[in-house]
Amino acid sequence: MFDNLSYKLDRAFKTLKGQGQITEVNVATTVKEIRRALVDADVNFKVAKEVTDRIKEEALGRDVLISVSPGQLLVKITQEELAKMMGEKQEDISIEGSPATILISGLQGSGKTTFSGKLANRLKKQGKQVLLAACDIYRPAAIDQLKVLGEQIGVEVYAEPDNKDAVKIANNAIKYAKDNGKSVVIVDTAGRLAVDETMMKEISSLKKELKPSETLFVVDSMTGQDAVNTAKTFNEQLDFDGVVLTKLDGDTRGGAALSIRNVVEKPIKFVSSGEKMDAIDLFYPDRMAQRILGM
């Protein structure tokens, strides 16, 4: 999987140069190579097309064709363009209200519960009084899982094992937080597919009821072409504030990050890169751009 894009492009250009004539058509061929690399990195097909159209324009404007190593320059342009698309400034989450509420959402197994623990740990270290609310009433041992994490980081977990109403549990958690001097409540929810109407309704009601100061969409960085469908539907139903990319400690190229950012235009706020409670980091667009390009 170590296809060095810049090498490939240089080679492509060499062939073109060998043919003596370099035209706009030739650039198109090379740009196709970039598009394939992006799709191989799991950037959505349509998004990849948009990106490369823009790169092509940039390339023609910047005289790539007469430069010494056009491949390298083209990769540089691509990298800049990707970083730009992923948002140039870092955006933090908003923690407002008393208590401030943070709603966590996403597909099954994306890493929500683990991330809830990590975020709680981070906020605790920043001096906040954090409460974790266990609102996944479906997955076997979901509450136990959150409790184990809570114990590890020394953060209290609010749970009602016999209550089958996530909204009520969340409301009770907030009341409990108020009564017990907590400043932030992080609401862990069950994983759900965008096509599951009942479950999507549940998360929408959670949002309407709690009016969280921050709603996060947690997504596995290994996600493929479907990332756009999922992100779009979650965004339509939740109008979330930011994205969390998980499992970046693997070797995925993470093209989903670009696709999601492009489709919903919401910032990526955190990355998660490990199972331990301190494996949480801010998002750096230029690092992500390099990663997608396999650099």
Binding site: M1, R36, V39, D40, A41, D42, F45, L107, Q108, G109, S110, G111, T113, T114, Y138, R139, P140, A141, D144, Q145, L146, K147, V148, L149, Q152, L193, A194, V195, D220, M222, T223, G224, Q225, D226, A227, N229, T230, K247, D249, G250, D251, T252, R253, G255, A256, E275
Partner: protein, 285 residues
């Protein structure tokens, strides 16, 4: 496909469908090339014939490991019991859930099933498997959290032999294939259970998340290196993700896809059907 004859536009549309189903560039190009060859050979190729040919070509890739689709959840007959099934994969793909569902299927056939809770690492992983055990009414062998996974696996197999179980299914912790130590642990689990039953594990099932993109290809490569993967399961196909990456995987590593997960409930597991799988790429959502 609204046109009657296969031309450039039709092939472009086809390419988009295949890429959008996560087949990846290589496999997609391979399929398109094969179709182009047929178009060149058969002078006239209508789009209605294209559907048929396409299904043949894709299913052909899935068959290059020469295995038939399973008909049901039965176990091979000619094996000395217990049949040992080791379940592996990266984090959160659906290993534990798939085990619960499989256990239910075997139990339904009147088999004696034992589960081994060898994920001793992830928070409450043992509790999760135990809850599945209760739900489907099969015993779970466990030593609790933070114990040695290989020794749990050993004890599960031992209990399977002693109690003449039909099948022992061992859950393992999710691990990214980039973590060398954790990958080595899989070989250790295998070695340890072989001390007890020589030919175990009879099956190593690699579980892949159907919404994963091209990284699944690397997962397959690395897990195959660490332990002998003999079957694949693809989960979460009840959403809009298509799981097409397994076509390239199945072809390259000659590992058959055996099961698909289509939900979170006990009954949401199916044996893999090539044709239905291929058809799902072309269903409009």
């Amino acid at each position: 496909v609204g046109k009657s004859q296969v031309d450039e536009d039709v092939l472009d549309e086809l390419e988009e469908i295949l890429i959008s189903s996560d087949l990846g560039v290589n496999t997609t190009v391979k399929i398109i090339d094969r179709i182009e060859e047929r178009v060149a050979r058969d002078k006239y190729l209508g789009t209605s014939e294209l559907d048929k040919i396409l299904r043949e070509e894709i299913a052909g890739l899935l068959s290059e490991n020469n295995t038939e689709d399973l008909k049901d959840f039965s176990l091979p007959e000619d094996i000395k019991k217990p049949y040992v099934l080791l379940v592996v994969g990266v984090n959160g793909v659906g290993k534990t859930t798939t085990i619960g569902k499989l256990a239910a299927q075997y139990k339904k056939q009147g088999m004696k099933v034992i589960l081994g809770a060898a994920d001793t690492f992830r928070a409450a992983a043992v509790d999760q498997l135990k809850m599945w055990g209760e739900r489907v009414d099969v015993p779970v062998v466990s030593h609790g959290m933070n114990t040695d996974p290989a020794s749990v696996a050993f004890d599960a197999v031992k209990q399977g032999v002693e109690e003449e179980a039909d099948i022992v299914i061992i859950d393992t912790a999710g691990r990214l294939h980039t973590k060398v130590n954790l990958m080595n642990e899989l070989s250790k689990i295998k070695r340890v259970i072989q001390k007890f039953v020589n030919e175990a594990p009879h099956e190593v099932l690699l579980v892949l998340d159907g919404s994963t993109g091209q990284n699944a290809m690397i997962q397959a490569r690395e897990f195959t290196k660490a332990t002998e993967v003999t079957a694949l399961a693809i989960t979460k196909l009840d959403g809009t993700a298509k799981g097409g990456v397994v076509i390239g995987i199945s072809e390259e590593f000659k590992i058959p896809v055996k099961y698909i997960g289509v939900g979170e409930k006990v009954e949401d597991l199916q044996v893999f059907n090539k044709m239905e799988f291929v058809d799902s790429f072309f269903k409009r959502v």
